[in-house]
């Protein structure tokens, strides 16, 4: 347990035993409540069909281990290819989004600047009023972006929520630093890249994460704009494994079911899908958390 206390600042008192116990209990409960279902999901993904059938659902008690679900998933190369598509779209998309968002967040971070309020208001309105599916489709189609990767990025490239959050962080930075730089003749570009961004690694990482996760999880844009299956992102490929025969409307009067020949849905494969989609997410978090370093402001002020 010594690692628990390894970096206590010299000024901080050692918490009382009951306080420590309470804290650790809460953390332990939270961890268990979250890890238990994850354990069930992972175990089910690793269970042979017999164990899944015997459980009649998610597997809680191990009934053998099988990597069949993962093998099925990655055979044929379709999933592998989609992973590459998703990684590419996520990387490029996050870069585009972050760049546009940082620039605009900084550009709008000075109340009283020219057009500040109308522009900010215009951004806010997009948070409130969403475009309809069909007008957006027609726009993407008219721009010739059907079947292009750009169609998976541009329509959702700027998110008003992220922009406003980033702007708020910029505005909470001590203004004196920028002011003194300005007096020294630094332009806005220099202030942004040399002063503001280094002090905003945390929020940049967070907003980058929000965008990245958004791109990684997105599938509906691809449903509408991508006809070429070779360009489908991972989430859309994975969705296909979960479909059960021909979906009919809940309304019995509308249609009659066709007995699809789709292979029966396999719970193990479904859970393997959850795990596969989760892996990059667990890898990326430490990269983000790294930027939640304390004391950056002081360093910047002094620098």
């Amino acid at each position: 347990m010594s690692t628990l206390f390894e970096s206590r600042p010299v000024w901080a008192e050692r918490p009382s035993l009951p306080a420590r116990a309470a804290k650790n209990t809460v953390l332990a409960v939270v961890t268990v409540v979250i890890l238990l279902p994850i354990y069930v999901v992972v175990l089910t993904s690793l269970s042979p069909a017999s164990a899944v059938n015997a459980a009649g659902g998610l597997v809680v008690v191990p009934g053998g281990i099988s990597f069949r679900a993962y093998a099925d998933l990655f055979s044929g190369g379709v999933v592998t290819r989609a992973v590459l598509v998703s990684l590419g779209v996520t990387a490029v998309g996050t870069l585009v989004s972050l760049t546009a968002t940082i620039l605009a967040a900084y550009g709008l971070s000075r109340p009283g600047s020219l057009l500040h309020r109308p522009l900010l208001f215009a951004v806010l309105l997009t948070f409130l009023f969403a475009p309809g599916m069909i007008p957006l489709y027609l726009l993407v189609s008219d721009l010739g972006l059907i079947d292009s990767y750009a169609s998976l990025i541009l329509p959702t490239a700027v998110n008003a929520f992220n922009l406003v959050v980033m702007r708020a962080f910029f505005m909470n930075l001590p203004g004196e630093i920028a002011d003194s730089a300005r007096i020294d003749g630094a332009g806005e570009w220099t202030i942004l890249t040399r002063l503001v961004l280094p002090m905003s690694k945390g929020v940049t990482a967070v907003v980058g994460l929000f965008y990245a996760v958004g791109y990684w999880n997105a599938f509906f844009n691809a449903i509408l704009y991508i006809n070429d299956n070779a360009k489908w992102p991972l989430q859309l490929i994975l969705r296909q494994y979960v479909q059960q025969g021909q979906q009919i409307s809940s309304n019995s009067l509308i249609g009659n079911a066709v007995q699809g020949t789709a292979s029966a849905p396999n719970l193990a494969v479904q859970m393997a899908i959850v795990v596969v989609a989760l892996v990059p997410v667990t890898i990326i978090y430490p990269l983000v958390q790294k930027h939640f370093t304390k004391g950056v402001i002081i360093g910047a002020v002094k620098g």
Partner: protein, 332 residues
């Protein structure tokens, strides 16, 4: 002592001065347009990519929402579909089920505000207090994972634990007690959906607060400690004020989003709990649109949501100003 601790923490507590002071020694609001253009053109230029993207991919298609005043069909498009004035709105406003959905949505949103919104803040402070960097990383990585579970999976997991044939019920049966089925009991609905939300998204919600916590000047803690402020005092006078701008901002945005409590979670559990308690605005619109192909009703509902959100944001923003906060934007 209290005064002292606050006094050394001016920056997070009073966030407005720095931003305001930025324009020192430069042309102010009253300056000529040309002077302001010269001063601010690089700022304006910076907004061009984002504003351009929003203009093309958001504003242009959002104009399509005029179909709220039509009986729209995709084949004839906006140009060819017949105009019906306020018919779609009147139909919504006179449908008791619309008001039931609005009522449920507001109840759920209020419960979310009270019982969900503070959880990530508390959890973030708790996680942040874990001293070991490695331990903190592991815990943070774990708590944010459920966010990546689909609602279908979350609902299924809850079903398998709290349902009538779930772990708890079967254990009770095995011990000779009556089973406890939470997943079809309309009275338990709010509790169940809030628990699901907390389980799925509380950890994810901590991220933004963790970033804000990291931005708090550590010197403040040290000075306060040196002055004898204890753990709780430091949290009250440094941590919470430090988080306040972000909390207020998220609260305002949440209010603007109040009629969007989520779709899938409620869609999936609509029949289990009954539409009486679980129908929200989005599921109502979905069911209206699905069986009838009426896009216009959906657009009308979207406009209503937007207007309500706009009004609430403006009010909340005003209140934030009165409390000395930035809010989302402010008149300067």
């Amino acid at each position: 002592m209290t005064e002292r601790a606050t006094a050394v923490a001016p920056a997070p507590d009073r966030p407005s001065p720095p931003a305001r002071r930025r324009g020192t020694g430069r042309p102010g609001r009253g300056a000529s347009l040309r002077a302001r253009w010269r001063r601010d053109r690089s700022l304006l230029l910076m907004t061009v990519p984002a504003i351009g993207l929003l203009a093309v991919f958001h504003y242009v298609p959002t104009l399509g929402n005029v179909i709220a005043f039509q009986q729209y069909n995709p084949w004839d498009g906006v140009v060819g579909s017949p105009w019906v004035g306020l018919y779609q709105f009147e139909r919504l406003f006179t449908d008791p089920r619309f008001w039931n959905a609005v009522g449920n949505t507001l109840v759920i949103a209020s419960v979310q505000l009270v019982f969900f919104f503070p959880v990530p803040i508390a959890l973030a402070i708790l996680l942040d207090s874990v001293l070991s960097r490695r331990m903190r990383l592991v815990l943070q990585s774990i708590v944010y994972m459920p966010h990546f579970f689909s609602w279908v999976l979350v609902v299924t997991l809850f079903q398998q634990i709290l349902g009538g044939a779930g772990l708890i019920s079967q254990s009770l049966r095995g011990a000779g007690y009556a089973p406890l089925d939470m997943m079809t009991n309309p009275d338990a609905f709010l509790m169940v959906v809030t628990s699901q939300m907390v389980w799925k998204d509380a950890g994810w919600g901590t991220i933004i607060f963790l970033a804000a916590l990291a931005a708090i000047d550590q010197n403040l803690y040290e000075s306060a400690a040196v002055d004898g402020a204890g753990r709780w005092r430091r949290m009250w006078h440094i941590t919470l004020p430090g988080l306040r701008p972000v909390i207020v901002l998220l609260l305002i945005l949440k209010l603007g989003d109040i009629l969007n409590v989520g779709f899938e979670q409620f869609y999936l559990q609509r029949d289990a709990f009954g539409s009486g308690v679980s129908e929200v605005l989005d599921t109502y619109v979905y069911h209206q649109t699905l069986v009838t192909g009426n896009f216009s009703a959906g657009a009308a509902a979207g406009l209503i949501k937007g207007v309500v959100g706009l009004v609430l944001i403006l009010i909340a923003n005003k209140m934030a100003h009165l409390m000395g906060e930035h809010g989302v934007y402010r008149r300067s």
